[in-house]
Point group: C2
Chain length 335, copies 2
């Protein structure tokens, strides 16, 4: 039984680099009451994303930084438990940016999706059928445009986005190479996500191993890390390669911009493309992606792994934990 309060995780200070537990504080406030045409969502799962580092950073980003003292921005999946809107009755399962808290009172326009895949666990709406799966689907298929027989390399390949990218690429007939940190995750790439090869970026032999795994060259690189990991992949681009910039998880700070090997000559000589994207720009793609992903999950063609932490008390340290590499699969907080 939950206490009749709304526990909220607030951003207490502006992190330098990776947000740590000490950057957040937990407060208890009154459970909010929906006003006219509003609904109240009781959050069931909170999401934890590498991108949250950017959301709390003061450095230029794709969205306004979370304000100091505000509830931490987060996707959540929950159930409407009080409603003043006839189209969204009590019991409706929804997702949205409802934040790290027990309850959110919102306008119905803030509802990102009404969960359609009722036969699948609600947590999937935040992972493989949520923003992570949709990110993988859009980035790989719309920017990467993989063709059967091509080699697709993915960094953070055991993560929620990366594992989905690898499996979609495999479904499209590609050869898949995963990059992950540590032998456990490498093994997970091979055993759970069907990568044709997987390489440990923490190995002293990483450069040689990625060269061997990509002996036929790289046609698509789905980059979630940037940094030294990507530098090795970039050496093996094939003519016409597509590099999808989805995240920069391996770079601790972008202020000032860190130095790395210049990519211009390689992009020119290989007639290659490098393109960044932010999935929030592509809401028109969500429904198509969710439908396809749902079919693949039901058919057992796409597997997902969840890393579930219990209780809102685990939230403040959860982002730092991602960057420590301690999760296996999509990190969620169950309330």
């Amino acid at each position: 039984m939950r206490p009749p309060v709304n526990r909220q995780v607030l951003l207490a200070r502006r992190p330098e680099g990776i947000p740590q537990a000490s950057d957040f504080t937990i407060v208890e406030t009154a459970v909010p009451i929906p006003g006219p045409a509003q609904v109240r969502v009781r959050n069931v799962f909170l999401s934890v994303e590498p991108a949250m580092r950017g959301w709390v950073s003061a450095v230029a980003n794709y969205s306004e930084p979370v304000a100091l003292g505000a509830v931490m921005r987060s996707f959540t999946a929950g159930v409407i438990d009080a409603s003043n809107h006839p189209d969204f009755p009590v019991g409706t399962q929804v997702t949205g940016l409802f934040g790290w808290q027990d309850y959110a009172v919102v306008e119905v326009t803030a509802i990102e999706q009404v969960i359609e895949a009722q036969d699948l666990p609600i947590s999937t709406a935040l992972g493989v059928l949520g923003i992570n799966g949709v990110t993988a689907h859009y980035g790989l298929l719309e920017i990467g445009k993989p063709r059967a027989g091509q080699t697709v390399v993915v960094s953070t390949a055991a993560g929620s986005v990366g594992s989905c990218v690898g499996q979609i690429a495999k479904l499209k007939g590609c050869r898949t190479v995963g990059i992950a940190g540590g032998q456990n995750k490498v093994q997970q790439c091979l055993d759970s996500f069907g990568f044709d090869a997987a390489v440990d970026y923490k190995s002293p032999e990483f450069a040689a191993q990625i060269a061997a795994a990509c002996a036929g060259g790289v046609d698509v690189y789905f980059d979630n890390t940037s940094g030294a990991i990507s530098d090795e992949v970039m050496k093996h681009l094939n003519v016409g390669a597509r590099v999808i910039i989805c995240g920069t998880a391996s770079v601790a700070s972008w202020n000032p911009t860190p130095m790395g090997p210049r990519v211009e000559r390689q992009l020119l000589v290989k007639r290659a493309l490098m393109q960044g994207f932010v999935i929030f720009d592509h809401a028109d793609h969500y429904q198509l992606a969710r439908r396809e992903l749902g079919q693949w999950v039901r058919a057992g063609q796409i597997h997902y792994v969840e890393d579930v932490l219990d209780g809102i008390e685990s939230a403040p340290d959860a982002i730092a934990g991602l960057y420590r590499g301690e999760n296996q699969g999509k990190r969620l907080i169950r309330l």
Copy 2:
């Protein structure tokens, strides 16, 4: 009257970095005789391109390096003066990769174009209607996709490709910012090529000046230089920007790969694209581009400037001279 010999400029040694006069040697050989179905081209103009540095480099490139002892690879414009092929009679004006020499005997499949724009000087077939103009047309329009009102920045803006990019962008209703080296070229950008603003990358105030010229942000950057010039432009990308990698003229050597500010975060946050291309991949675009460019030149909507050196003796030092920045406009050698 030319001597009855074929003077040829041979690659004598593999240059380190920028090819110098001492890397070439001039020899005299017999004027070649066409065999069955072949033609002999008497070259009238030889082309000089920044890209030639890459053509003679041993470092991985988009084409086989010119062999030691071989005639220097070059586009030329000339006239067929001996023919064993009925479709290409004596007098036909043609272009092709006929090399730095007086005469070339070739199969007719080696003819890149039969010059159609007979009303324009034959030299235009190597510049504004040649590979340079076609490069500008393809890169800007097919990759850059500029829209009216957007800001287009071009490096080496007074050069053959850059000046054409700026003028096409202007014709498409864009605001154009040119980057060039030295006050003479900056003035030429403004006076001859109609750039809305032009900035001298050699100025100690370059960073501040490019920031001021791009106060509304950069939508398209046509990059011929890479290096410190591009680093400043990259700071000002707008959301959805397109960076076209056409050349890397400002970087002296790519072996080993030089370091620069990492671009991944900026590409991600700005949802931007960076794409390299090599015009030889897009022969199917040449005819369309030449037709449009020819119309614009005749209508006085596109201006071009040529920097003509006289005599094949000027060829060996001509590439180094480009990199010394001594040319104004398209560099050609008239035989």
